[in-house]
Symmetry: C2
């Protein structure tokens, strides 16, 4: 019997693949199985020691897996999978439908309390590390303002919106924080800024041959919610250029707290991410919190948790003594 933390993955998309890679960097963990809704034999997963199984057989692995990492989407998968798996396993997920987090927390909490398991929900970078930094910065500097900027990064939702425009064959959209807004925030003047005053939108679009590009540009720039309120730039490129230069999934952003203490001293706390691969980074956060869920459960702390409830020491494979000596 190994002492490794035995991990399972539900879902084999970008996030699931990133999770496989992240587990390989953790000497205290072992990936046991990947569960999919597709026919397992049709997945080409080149991991000799990992089983690939249909999601319906997960229950049989109740005693063989310590933590299940749920890599499905918030809209379609997690509302069902979250509470279902919390009845069987300690779980981690990246539920990110902000408005529905209280409701999701409640159903997962009930399931996990009943099973005696520990489920950490809404893990990743936003929600996740950004949330943590918003909370800590506001607690330390109660008088002040918090600003979240996203990007430069590829937005999946906005890219999908572009691809639905008539005459568009393919395209991507990058959310780009506006430098002047960041500088203003860092100067300590605490400006009021709308999302559109903090970000611009840069699109790379492949048009149908012969289609009126001016019309496409107009249709994108005036699209309500997605683009109308933003400084939007539309660039037309070839299908080859799209594939060559825009198939990575970079992202990142900033959380900046600008506060005042004493008479009139400006204090700036900033947390930022600059990520070549958004799904691989999110997966790395999930895996660190999987370690925490396993440990919290060993201590009998059952129920749903968020990043706010997890002491940072639980994320590290090192002992508390080593952490105090080496990292404090």
């Amino acid at each position: 019997m190994s002492n490794l933390i035995k991990v399972g993955i539900v879902g084999y998309g970008n996030l699931g693949r990133g999770t496989i890679e992240a587990i390989k960097q953790c000497p205290d963990m072992e990936l046991v199985a990947i569960f999919t809704r597709r026919a397992p034999e049709n997945l080409s997963i080149n991991e000799p020691n990992v089983e690939v199984l249909h999601i319906s057989s997960a229950e049989e692995y109740k005693d063989k897996i310590d933590v299940m990492i749920l890599c499905g989407g918030s809209a379609t998968d997690l509302p069902d999978q979250g509470p279902y798996f919390a009845r069987l396993f300690n779980t981690i997920d990246s539920y990110d439908t902000h408005a529905k987090i209280p409701e999701y927390f409640s159903v997962v909490n009930q399931a996990a309390k009943e099973s005696g398991k520990t489920s950490i929900i809404s893990v990743g970078w936003d929600p996740g590390l950004f949330s943590l930094n918003r909370l800590m910065a506001e607690s330390i500097l109660p008088t002040g303002e918090t600003y979240t900027f996203w990007g430069k990064g590829l937005s999946q939702g906005h890219s999908d919106a572009i691809r639905r425009v008539e005459g568009v064959v393919g395209g991507v959209q990058y959310t780009v924080p506006i430098d002047e807004a960041i500088e203003k925030v860092k100067s300590g003047v605490n400006p009021e800024l709308s999302t559109g005053e903090k970000h611009r939108r840069v699109c790379y679009v492949v048009a149908e041959e012969g289609y009126d590009q001016a019309k496409i540009e107009q249709d994108i720039k005036t699209m309500p919610n997605y683009f109308a309120d933003y400084d939007t730039e539309v660039n037309f490129i070839t299908a080859e250029e799209l594939k060559e230069n825009h198939s990575k999934l970079p992202h990142g952003g900033f959380v900046i707290r600008s506060g005042k203490t004493g008479e009139d001293n400006n204090q700036i706390i900033e947390f930022s991410l600059n990520l070549d691969s958004n799904p691989e980074f999110t997966a790395s956060v999930l895996v660190a919190y999987a370690r925490a869920a396993y440990r919290l459960n060993k201590e009998g702390q059952a129920g749903a948790k968020t990043v706010f409830d997890v002491a940072p020491g639980y994320l590290s494979p090192k002992s508390a003594e080593d952490l105090r000596r080496d990292l404090l």
Copy 2:
């Protein structure tokens, strides 16, 4: 009986004064008393509802104070005050002698376990928030390097060293991170950098009238440990300029983790501080952790803790429900 958390302060230096200001920003806290080793009647503290008392009377306040914030120094005060006050109160301190943290933790832990109190040690920004970010970033990106840069900021130790040089009447030293080193780190190449390759030292010195400035400059630049291994700049100024332009205590710095995931994707996590007032900011961190110590103790979690052991939610006066709804 108010429901406010009743706080005491030990020590009335820069940190103690910053703590008074920080408590004023917390609607859930009340400053009860300041304890000093000096004659209390000689301190001019303009806080009508706060008692100013000799440190020897602290024990009488055992049932009147929920958390005691220790604002003394690591070298001279905390080795005795830490365990002494942990026997009587929940405590917070900013013990920062890195090499002796394990030993200090152990004596405070024993005292706090015996009294059933909760003591969070080594709170502030380094050790403290920087440590937390080193730990989290390394846990999330196990393959990579962590870099800590300090500054731009006034270093008390180096300023003291300058003032001990013959012919020097007054002076300050700023530690300045080297931009090229920061850029190199952020590019993801993971360079090996000594402290001297990451920082330069900029001194502003008031010389004795008629004293040989070239000799002073030479004495500073060749001083072992403090300056010899650094790119050091010495500027001579007048006593008036020193007072006018260099009597604030700014500081800050960066913790940058440069990691790799998957095939070869660079992932950068950065945490930075830009502080007009180092002691006021440190005090603000102490006060947020005082709230955490009070709550952890209410839950029966006695003994010594560090920032690694405290779930972030404990720092906020808001309820867990509100935090999930508003900040996650």
